[in-house]
Structure formats: structure tokens, C-alpha cells
């Protein structure tokens, strides 16, 4: 399996995937620094107080995180979607599968290699963005490490489903399905919040089901909660009741992070989908 992991990592470096990601991250970090400096400068000149500036910065940071979550999810999907199918189509796997290598080792090796790339990129991009934000605005979110970890978690979820699809579908089809699933999952999260705020239990439970089917929304809320200043979360808790639920319905606010049970569920979900990918690939005749 370690041969496959190593080949996956070498591929990412040689095919300039990592370098493209890192280059874009540097550009975005520079733009962020410039944007924040303009914002802070302008706010201070107009007499905006520090608490308001902190809330504003945190909200922009959450929007940046949202952009990154999208970029990461799409990157994971488009790395994972062709990971098996393209090698079957090109014939690379024909000689590999004739070796004493279990198909499960191939799937796990590809997944692990890509997961390392995704997590490493998320960590580097997270350090860049949070570092630049701290440097320019002096704002550091209350839970920076979990924020980055939840973002990486979302990418891993999408990577895992894309690897599963790649065992059967061509890369383009698998990638397109992942994009749709990402959108649907995000919509389900928003719908669930709105349904809860409007007290529509049937819709809420339906949306909740969808959230568990592809567990992205809970991780996103974790990122939001980790990036918010404590004052925002406190506000949501103080408002309480229907008002608090209305705050929760906003995808860019969160009153709490994901429960440990939910995180355990995500880990089990990833393991189960990987198991399904192995089962699917073992059944495939190449």
C-alpha cells in the first residue's frame, strides 16, 4: 500500500497539482492582507469601534473559509474522481493489478495519498490565511486548529465519496456528481436551519437526513463556530428560542460546534464509504 501512497504523492508534485494550489493560496493570502488593511484603515477613520471591527473581520474570515471549503471540496472531488477510473482506462492499473497487491490496498493507498495532499494543503492554506489575518487585523479566531481541521474534514468526506464513485464511473461523471452532492448537502443544511426556525418538523427531519447522508454541513458549522468571536456565539445563545434558531439558520453563524457523537459518525461514515469503495472495486472485472 505504501508504494501506492508514495506514487500518489509523487504524482501530485510532478504534475504540479500542489504547486498550483500553493501558488493560488499565496495570491489569495496577499489579496486578503490587502483587503483587510483597507477595511481596518477605513473603519478606524470612520470611528467604527473595535468590537464591530472584530465581528466584521470574523465574518469576512468565515466567508474566506467558505470559499476555501468550496475550493477544497472541489479539489478533493476532482482529485478523487479520476483516481481509479482514469488508471483503469489508461491501462496503468493492468500491470499493477497483476502484482501481489490486494485491490483494497490499491484503494486505501490512493485514498490515503490524496487525503495527505488535501490535509497538508488545508493546513498550509489555513496557516497562511489565519497568519495574514492576525498580522493585519490582530484578530485570531478562538479555535484556529479545529477550524482548519473541520475544513479538511469536509474535503475528506468529498474525497471519499469521489473515490467510491471512481471505482465505477469515469472521472468526469464522478466529479460532476460530487459537485452536485456538495451543492445539495449545503442546501440541505440551509433548509434544515430555516425549517427549524419556522418550526417545520417534517422538512427539518428530511433536511437533517440529507445532512447525515453526506455529512458536510455539520463540519461547516464547526468551521464557522471555530472562527467566530465568542461574542457572536454568545449572542445566539442569549437570544435563545425561535430567535436563536433563526440565527442558527444562517449558514454563516453557528451557536455551537459539532458534538463528539457527530464527529464519530463522520469518521464511521468515511470508513463505511471506503469499505464500499473496496467492495465495489473488488467486484469490478478489469
Amino acid at each position: 500500500m505504501k508504494t501506492i501512497v508514495r506514487l500518489t504523492l509523487v504524482e501530485a508534485v510532478r504534475r504540479r497539482i500542489l504547486w498550483a494550489f500553493l501558488g493560488l493560496t499565496v495570491v489569495i493570502a496577499l489579496l486578503t492582507a490587502w483587503g483587510f488593511s483597507v477595511l481596518i484603515d477605513s473603519a478606524q477613520r470612520h470611528g467604527v469601534n473595535d468590537v464591530q471591527i472584530e465581528v466584521g473581520v470574523s465574518q469576512i474570515l468565515i466567508l474566506l473559509a467558505f470559499m476555501f471549503s468550496f475550493v477544497l471540496a472541489m479539489s478533493a472531488a476532482f482529485l478523487g474522481a479520476p483516481s481509479i477510473s482514469s488508471e483503469v482506462e489508461s491501462g496503468v492499473l493492468l500491470a499493477v493489478l497483476a502484482r501481489p497487491l490486494r485491490r483494497s490496498e490499491l484503494i486505501l493507498g490512493r485514498w490515503l495519498g490524496l487525503a495527505i495532499i488535501v490535509v497538508a494543503y488545508t493546513a498550509v492554506a489555513g496557516v497562511f490565511e489565519l497568519g495574514v489575518t492576525k498580522l493585519v487585523t490582530d484578530y485570531l479566531p478562538p479555535h484556529p486548529v479545529p477550524a482548519v481541521a473541520y475544513l479538511a474534514g469536509q474535503a475528506i468526506v468529498l474525497l471519499t465519496i469521489s473515490v467510491l464513485l471512481s471505482t465505477r464511473l469515469p472521472g468526469i461523471a464522478a466529479g460532476a456528481i460530487c459537485v452536485v452532492l456538495f451543492g445539495l448537502s449545503w442546501m440541505a443544511g440551509v433548509m434544515g436551519g430555516i425549517a427549524a426556525a419556522l418550526n417545520l418538523p417534517e422538512v427539518a427531519s428530511l433536511a437533517n437526513g440529507a445532512r447525515y447522508l453526506l455529512p458536510l454541513d455539520g463540519l461547516w458549522k464547526g468551521t464557522v463556530f471555530s472562527l467566530e468571536p465568542p461574542s457572536i456565539a454568545l449572542l445566539g445563545q442569549l437570544v435563545g428560542g425561535r430567535g436563536g434558531q433563526a440565527v442558527s439558520a444562517n449558514p454563516f453563524f453557528a451557536t455551537s460546534g459539532p458534538a463528539p457523537a457527530y464527529l464519530l459518525y463522520v469518521a464511521l461514515w468515511v470508513a463505511a464509504v471506503l469499505g464500499l469503495a473496496i467492495f465495489s472495486f473488488r467486484r469490478r472485472e478489469i
Binding site: 509523487v10 496503468v92 493492468l94 500491470a95 493489478l97 497483476a98 501481489p100 472485472e285
Partner: protein, 309 residues
């Protein structure tokens, strides 16, 4: 199956829903021989290779490769494989592809360098070992594929159309390589459409059609008897009768054909004609080619099928 057998199948079958890809393949490949596996498109050759390598599961029958069930993980350490349509990672160097396959094949790491140098030399790629595979021509990729198949000192090598992308020099190199493998006791399972190539290198062949072996045997037996065609003028009927002792004679115009004939008899035949006053203009020793036999057998099969239906 005995230790002297590399591959053995009994009624090995594969069905995809309504389509029968392999109807019941029964064959034996002795160890150390070069075995040609021939058949028209759609005969089931690729399916057979898939089953033998464990890439697909049979729906009937059974088979063993190197004494182990088809697809056995441990047996795969002793098998080399060159696929027909393949590509290696374009972003790797030739040496890196070989190193990856050494690792996958379970070759101890202290033997990688020696193995890689040896196979690169065998396929003539030593000078290009440090180049990216993406820069290789089709023929060079084919050579690299053969090098990959030879890693790990395999006991059986499956070569699927090994000369398809090669120029005449490359083909001669592959023939030499196959002879080299045979000399070292390696069993070669050769799947090829180039019947001339098969005829030159194989000890034994099996011809498959509609998923069944229609004939299997040593190539000498399969090609049958030799003949000789001689263009003669000024040769009378009495003298012609004297040629009868060399074998059955047929005459078409100036051409005399004796089939079957012992190859050693040809000088005596010519001497007899000359002694009888004949003038010899041409002597063509002949033999049915594998292609002749292949086409004839397929025609017989088709006729039998037509008669059945």
C-alpha cells in the same frame, strides 16, 4: 496438474449475462515452453488472460497457474505480465516505474538496482533509464512494458501482443528475448496476432475460436508435412514415374510438387530429374505456414457450425 505444468485449465468458462466470452477452455502449458495463444478477434483470448491473471472471476470450470488457484496473491509474485493496451505513469522516469514494480512484486530492496539494470539492458533501454516515460515513443513504452514484466525473475510471463508497436528491429529483439527466457526455463504465454512471429518463437500453440480451443499441439505437428515444388522442362513421363519413391507427386504445367517429402530428399530429387534429362529452373521447399493452418482450421470450424445450425 504436475510440477512440469505451468498453466492448466479445465472447461474454464466466462459468461457475461447472455454473452459467452469463454465457452470452456481446456489447455495445458508445460513449464519452460513458449506457448502461443491464437485466435480471431472475439475468440476469447483476452477473457482467458483476464481469468488466468485473476482479473476476472470464471463462471465455470477451473484453472491453476504455477500450482495455485487463479488470481492467487502469492503466485502473482512469480508471474510477469505485459498487457496489450497499457500506459505507465508519464510523470515517472523509466527507472522509477521499474523500482515501483520491484516494490509491488516484493523484490527485496537490495536486489532492485541489479534487477533494474539487468532488465533495462535486456530491452535496450539502459540509456533512457533516467527519462520521463511521457517522452517515450510507443515502441520504447513497449520495451519498458516488457522490462516491467521481467522484474522479479518470473516463472511465467504473459506477453499480450508484445511486438505490436515495434519496428522490425524491435521485433527481432523481442524474439531474441523470448529465446533468452526459454533458455532460462521461463514459461512464456504469448498472445499475438502476428502469426509469423508466433511460428518463429513458439514451441506449442493453441488456437481458440468461439471460446474453445479448436487445436492445441506442438508447432511442428500443427504445421504438418513439408513439400517441394520444382519447375522442370524437358522431362518425360517415364522419368516422372521415377520420382514416385520420394512421395506423392502432382504436376501442374512445368511445376512438380511432392508432398509430403523429407527435407533431406530434395537434393536426390533434383539429381533424379537431371539424370532423367530434365532441366531444373526452380526449387521451392515449402511447408504450410501457421497462417495457412490457422485460416484452414477456422474455415473448418465455421463449416461445422453452419452444419450444426
Amino acid at each position: 496438474m504436475t510440477d512440469a505444468t505451468a498453466i492448466e485449465t479445465r472447461e474454464l468458462a466466462k459468461r457475461y449475462k447472455e454473452t459467452i466470452a469463454l465457452a470452456g477452455l481446456t489447455m495445458t502449458v508445460p513449464r519452460g515452453e513458449v506457448f502461443g495463444f491464437l485466435g480471431p478477434n472475439g475468440a476469447g483470448k483476452t477473457t482467458a488472460v483476464k481469468l488466468l491473471l485473476g482479473r476476472a472471476r470464471p463462471t465455470g470450470g477451473q484453472g491453476v497457474v504455477l500450482g495455485a488457484p487463479l488470481g492467487d496473491l502469492a503466485a502473482r509474485r512469480r508471474i510477469g505480465y505485459l498487457p496489450e493496451l497499457f500506459r505507465y505513469q508519464s510523470w515517472l522516469r523509466a527507472r522509477e516505474v521499474l523500482a515501483a514494480h520491484c516494490e509491488l512484486a516484493g523484490v527485496p530492496s537490495d536486489r532492485w538496482a541489479g534487477q533494474i539494470s539487468s532488465v533495462l539492458e535486456l530491452v535496450g533501454l539502459t540509456d533512457r533509464a533516467g527519462d520521463r516515460v511521457g517522452s517515450f515513443s510507443k515502441g520504447m513504452q513497449q520495451r519498458l512494458g516488457i522490462a516491467v514484466a521481467l522484474l522479479g525473475d518470473p516463472e511465467v510471463v504473459f506477453l499480450d501482443e508484445p511486438t505490436s508497436a515495434l519496428d522490425p528491429v524491435g521485433r527481432a529483439d523481442v524474439r531474441a528475448l523470448i529465446h533468452h527466457l526459454r533458455e532460462h526455463g521461463v514459461t512464456v504465454f504469448l498472445n499475438s496476432h502476428l502469426l509469423g512471429e508466433v511460428e518463429k518463437v513458439c514451441d506449442r500453440v493453441a488456437i481458440v475460436d468461439r471460446g474453445r480451443v479448436i487445436v492445441e499441439g506442438r508447432i511442428d505437428e500443427l504445421l504438418g508435412s513439408r513439400s517441394v515444388r520444382i519447375r522442370v522442362t524437358e522431362f518425360d513421363g517415364k522419368a516422372e514415374a521415377s520420382l514416385g519413391r520420394f512421395g506423392p507427386l502432382t504436376i501442374e504445367g512445368d511445376w512438380l510438387t511432392i508432398r509430403p517429402v523429407e527435407a533431406e530428399s530434395v537434393p536426390d530429387i533434383v539429381a533424379t530429374i537431371v539424370a532423367g534429362g530434365g532441366r531444373v529452373h526452380a526449387v521451392e521447399p515449402g511447408r504450410a505456414t501457421l497462417e495457412d493452418r490457422f485460416l484452414a482450421l477456422l474455415q473448418i470450424e465455421e463449416a461445422l457450425e453452419a452444419a450444426k445450425s
